[in-house]
Symmetry: C2
Subunit: 225 residues, 2 copies
Amino acid sequence: MFVRASTDPVFRLSSLGVLGMESDSNPVVSLNEFTYRKGMEIYGEKEPADYVYRVKSGAVRSYKLLSDGRRQIGAFHLLGDIFGLESGGEHQFTTEAIVDTTVRLIKRHSLDSLAANDALVARNLLSMTMDNLRHAENHMLLLGRKTSQERVAAFLLEMDKRLTAAGVMVLPMSRRDIADYLGLTLETVSRVLSRLHELGILGFVGHNQRQIALLDRRQLAGLDR
Amino acid sequence: MFVRASTDPVFRLSSLGVLGMESDSNPVVSLNEFTYRKGMEIYGEKEPADYVYRVKSGAVRSYKLLSDGRRQIGAFHLLGDIFGLESGGEHQFTTEAIVDTTVRLIKRHSLDSLAANDALVARNLLSMTMDNLRHAENHMLLLGRKTSQERVAAFLLEMDKRLTAAGVMVLPMSRRDIADYLGLTLETVSRVLSRLHELGILGFVGHNQRQIALLDRRQLAGLDR
DNA sequence: CGGATCGTTGACCACCTTCAAGGATTGTGG
DNA sequence: CCACAATCCTTGAAGGTGGTCAACGATCCG
């Protein structure tokens, strides 16, 4: 783990809209795709933030490390999410592909010049950053004040909203990833999930511990304050 | 506590620059000052975010509450800080004056129209929001992964940077505020501070427990990872 | 099939919380 | 200016939630 990608990721070109914000008459700026294999680093904390990314397929984790290896995941980036939009020109997180992942990427400086001329693009950048801020603020409440049960319940509800298809969510991330997102250990996450399973609040689909069906969202929401 | 201001705060007019971002030829938008007494609420979570604020004097806490009263303070706003700049038109936090506090306030919609016409203002809004985001991201690491000692050390270093004059910092907030900022109890904060005092890392000035001199910033930084 | 990774569960433990008491400081009214 | 209450801070003792350490089973992947 934490191994730097030694080979260049798969490279392809695309002519789709910038960040999904298709302005009427914009020149298509340097816009292409990369594919990262499971576990590969996309960028490191404190590297220059020259690109902004959008998840085309797969999933990404953003995290910070303490010197002794303790890890805090700040966000998971799923299909359609934009990440890497940071202040000051330096990335604030390290990001890795959780599974094989394809991202669309945009040069930051072309985005900046777009924003300088188009107030709508500027508004979108601000709006996206504020969305990230709101997520971080809610997560501070979770990390600072919620119990393990409340944290896991909140996590399940968040993921349910973001990636449930046909009543089942397929989590791309491991128990350790979940734990590092929730400020817990993987054992505690596992125990709480087992407990919720016993209580009939969730079910595992097949024998895959990452395919989860929420059987009682109402009750789950009650476990989160 | 948590009592809503029943009387209108002191009202004055001012003709200074907007948010400190004096553009060359901007019309001075609705710009005035309010003073809040210690403990008074400035705005509540989920209220419409019609104004943005700048601290002229005093100090402010921004927090979220859980249904049973657990509180997480997301930030302290000190002299010169801007707060209340939120997404979606709704405030994400409740804010209160920690001590008697005067704020300058700006109508949000006038700020928006300014930004629509002036790319520099728009950049400043984005930059400020990104600064808030970075603070929140670092605080997530603290809340999710740091020990009580590391949290208090980080807090002291942050406050030292922001409000030390003549080698002494005068904390406006109580031990409970600090605890709710750091995701601890007030007893734990008190114990850690006592320990740091025993170790000679900090000193109390006079008999006031809120006037603290950092005697060994190097060692303190070592206690934070 | 064999190794590596992942997830679950149990036993024990530590850090921080809870509960409690007492002292110090601040604010208020006489 | 003092008396008194309210708030704040500290400190001690006990307890609990979640962490640590360990073993084992399941799944994945070569």
